[in-house]
Amino acid sequence: MAQSESVPNRTEGEPLLRVENLQTAFFTEKETIRAVDGVSFDIRRGETVGIVGESGSGKSVTARSIMGLVDSPGRVLEGSSIRFDGEELTDKTEKQYRQLRGSDIAMVFQDPLTSLNPVYTVGNQIKEALRLHRDMRGAEATEEAIDLLEAVGIPDASRRVTEYPHEFSGGMRQRAVIAMALACDPELLICDEPTTALDVTIQAQILELLDDLQDERDLAIMFITHDMGVIAEVSDRVNVMYAGEIVESAPVEELFENPRHPYSRGLLNSIPGNQPDADRLSTIEGDVPTPNEQATYCRFEPRCPKAFDECSRVHPESLAVNADADDHTAACLLYPEDASQAEAVEAHETRGTQEVSER
């Protein structure tokens, strides 16, 4: 996909999904955890947007916020905006949201072992979705379920449709889950680490399948993973998340060729095989901090090899990395790189105060 010529022109028209300043916080007795803290990005039709980051960086919570599936004690905060096809989702009631789920936005989960209920046949679970949104039942629904299973490349679908999940292999199961998600012809498919639980060959097949389905149905895909290799394979555009924030956003080739944020660089360096000469795999020391307060500093600073004094004082905002780059932003005080360091810090500071006052 990344290499294909059909990369849509990003400036054209309204995006399918526009997330602006999304903030999702979990209110526990001890503290408020700002799992997603001011995330903005958009996804266009037929485009695959990757979201990449370590465990605990808020990728899944972002996906669940879009689906409206944040469990108590979590909440999407005021001031967040999720616009899908021109409609604001954050104002919707639970009932309206339910109409949307499945028919407009669908989701594929990480573990195909558990995302199918083991006590029902695969066909039954696909038909459940068909019945809900397309009011199909009986033989008609069975036909459709078989077609869907065929569409996701399951051989002998008419027999498979009556089998239980335990009779499917891992890859087959994930295909069935994708069939379930596609049952109601969604426009946006959110894939939350769909290949993490699969082995590498199966992983490639699933990615190829998603690619084919995207071409056929003009699907927009939001692809969450921590695997840089998968991201390179699948996405048109990449957002790098760290501690609830998007720290860098760029088209996939640009990001891999020219990573700007020290965190993105660290991630790319820690791919096994990227530095064939090194004895040891380079890693990013430390853990993702728990974002439990509004940041007035850079959350990556404690782990950053390039940190300087200002980093603990000024919160970096997403700014273009240089004057020429119109489609590459990074939230790091080192950028814009064509400005002097003092100017850059200044730019982040003014941008930050602007945004705070807007909120």
Binding site: M67, L69, D71, S72, P73, R98, Q99, L100, R101, G102, S103, A106, M107, F109, Q110, D111, T114, S115, L116, N117, P118, V119, Y120, T121, G123, N124, K127, E128, A129, L132, H133, R137, T142, V161, T162, Y164, V177, M180, A181, A183, C184
Partner: protein, 465 residues
């Protein structure tokens, strides 16, 4: 889950249509078994709308009568089954009742096997393993056996007793019996005979277990201090206990399951509210609260339904659900964390359907375990209330009342009055707990007995191969 739900492509009816042989054979057997007892069912159903229609039935008292008198001339028993002694005639009937029940149970099991072999899509489901584990669980089988015996007692109470509740307990002066006195056949009312058959503690005024009284009547469990037959009393009491137990477990299980699903699905505030409600009920001393309620509500219309049985069932359900809810809330929470719940939500499934279809099947097993375990507690509770003179109002038989009225005779010749019901309560309650244990171990695939079964089976298979 029902076998006819839409999970399979072809409905069960069509699958049977394709291969009707085994199903028809099973059905024929089932009809035959039913025909033997059809009279009782017809009698019961028509009895709801007036006097019941009498049809000949295999297990009726009329077919195998055990009340008669000994011919003074020949010494042979008259009016009993084949001239057998009342004790033997009664024993024949009891054996027949239990044999019939076992055959019915076995035939139902056969039916399941036929379904499994010929009509089920999957050649293996996790339930098969559960059944296998239960089959290797001795303690659970002990429980199942006693529970089975107890349920049969309750269902077949009328033919099991040597006489009927109507004749000996409710209306003893409306029925006459014939007996032999001084070489002549005479007749007396049951009430008069009962007066002579009282168990009052002294050796000359006592009818113990497996004894005849002066009127030639046989008493398997002896008589009560009033002279009424205790075995009849106990069988009818089993019915009352089982009714109250099942009804209150049914209601509290339903409430508990509903709340467990709601709290696990919605969490947060809903959970908190139910925790507060449940904890407030649990913090009350249960027996005292139950006593208070049964006294306060004893004057209302609801207390007159089934001699207070319905009221007791409701009280026990109302005070018992928090315990069950606590027990199944954990499993429900666990299921709600499964990804398939998220998946169901993510394609827009309604909360009610998600709970019913994707969560409920996983807590039903736990419900069964805790239900079976607390059933014993309710039986003890009802017996305890009757012992204290509350609960089921006389003359309706209740085991606890037998313990109560026999307590002053415990050290005398009439020890059986308290002892037998006491032992039976202990047995039944233990059995329900044992059954619960068995089901729990069967449901849990990691339980020890299950693993042993598995390795044994594997070893056996390996040896065979």
């Amino acid at each position: 889950m029902s076998r006819t739900d839409e999970r399979e492509d072809v409905p069960l009816r069509d699958r049977i249509g394709e291969n009707p042989g085994p199903a028809l054979r099973w059905l024929a057997g089932a009809l035959l078994l039913f025909a033997l007892e059809a009279g009782a069912v017809v009698n019961f159903v028509t009895g709801l709308f007036g006097p019941g229609v009498e049809l000949p039935t295999l297990l009726s008292r009329e077919l195998i009568p055990n009340n008669g008198y000994q011919d003074p001339a020949t010494g042979a028993w008259q009016e009993t089954f084949f001239g057998l002694s009342p004790a033997l005639a009664w024993a024949v009937r009891v054996v027949l009742v239990y044999a019939y029940s076992f055959v019915v149970a076995w035939w139902l099991w056969r039916g399941y096997l036929v379904f499994r072999e010929h009509y089920r899509y999957a050649d293996w489901t996790p339930k098969d393993d559960m059944i296998d584990r239960l089959r290797g669980h001795r303690w659970g089988q002990f429980g199942a056996l006693i529970v089975f015996a107890f349920v049969v007692m309750a269902v077949f109470a009328p033919p099991l007793g040597p006489t009927t509740v109507e004749r000996t307990i409710s209306n003893p002066y409306s029925y006459e019996i014939q007996y032999v006195d001084g070489g002549e056949i005479q007749s007396a009312t049951v009430g008069e005979a009962n007066l002579a058959a009282r168990s009052q503690g002294s050796p000359d005024q006592n009818v113990g277990p497996m004894q005849y009284d002066e009127y030639g009547r046989f008493h398997p469990f002896g008589t009560l201090p009033s002279g009424k037959d205790m075995f009849t009393f106990m069988m009818a009491g089993a019915r009352v206990s089982l009714f109250i137990g099942l009804l209150s477990i049914g209601i509290s299980g339903f409430i508990a399951a509903g709340f467990a699903l709601l709290t696990a699905y919605y969490k947060g505030l809903v959970d908190l509210l139910v925790v507060i409600a449940g904890d407030s009920i649990m913090s009350l001393p249960r027996l005292l609260f139950v006593m208070l309620l049964s006294v306060v509500l004893s004057g209302t219309w609801i207390a007159s339904v089934y001699n207070g049985g319905l009221l007791l069932a409701l009280i026990f359900a109302g005070t018992g659900w928090p315990v069950m809810w606590r027990a199944i809330r954990g499993p429900a929470m666990q299921v709600s964390e499964q990804e398939w719940i998220d998946a169901a939500k993510s394609f827009g499934q309604k909360p009610r359907v998600t709970m019913q279809k994707h969560m409920a099947p996983y807590i039903l097993g736990y419900l069964l375990v805790y239900g079976s375990m607390s059933l014993g507690g309710i039986i003890i509770g009802v017996a305890g209330l009757s012992f204290l003179g509350l609960g089921i109002s006389p003359p309706t038989p209740e085991w606890g009342r037998a313990v109560d009225i026999g307590q002053s005779y415990v050290t005398t010749a009439s020890w059986h009055i308290s002892f037998i019901p006491g032992v039976m309560i202990v047995l039944v309650v233990t059995a329900f707990n044992a059954l619960g244990d068995g089901i729990r171990d069967a449901i849990d695939p990691e339980s020890e007995s299950g693993e042993d079964e598995g390795t044994e089976a594997a070893a056996a298979a390996g040896g065979g191969a």
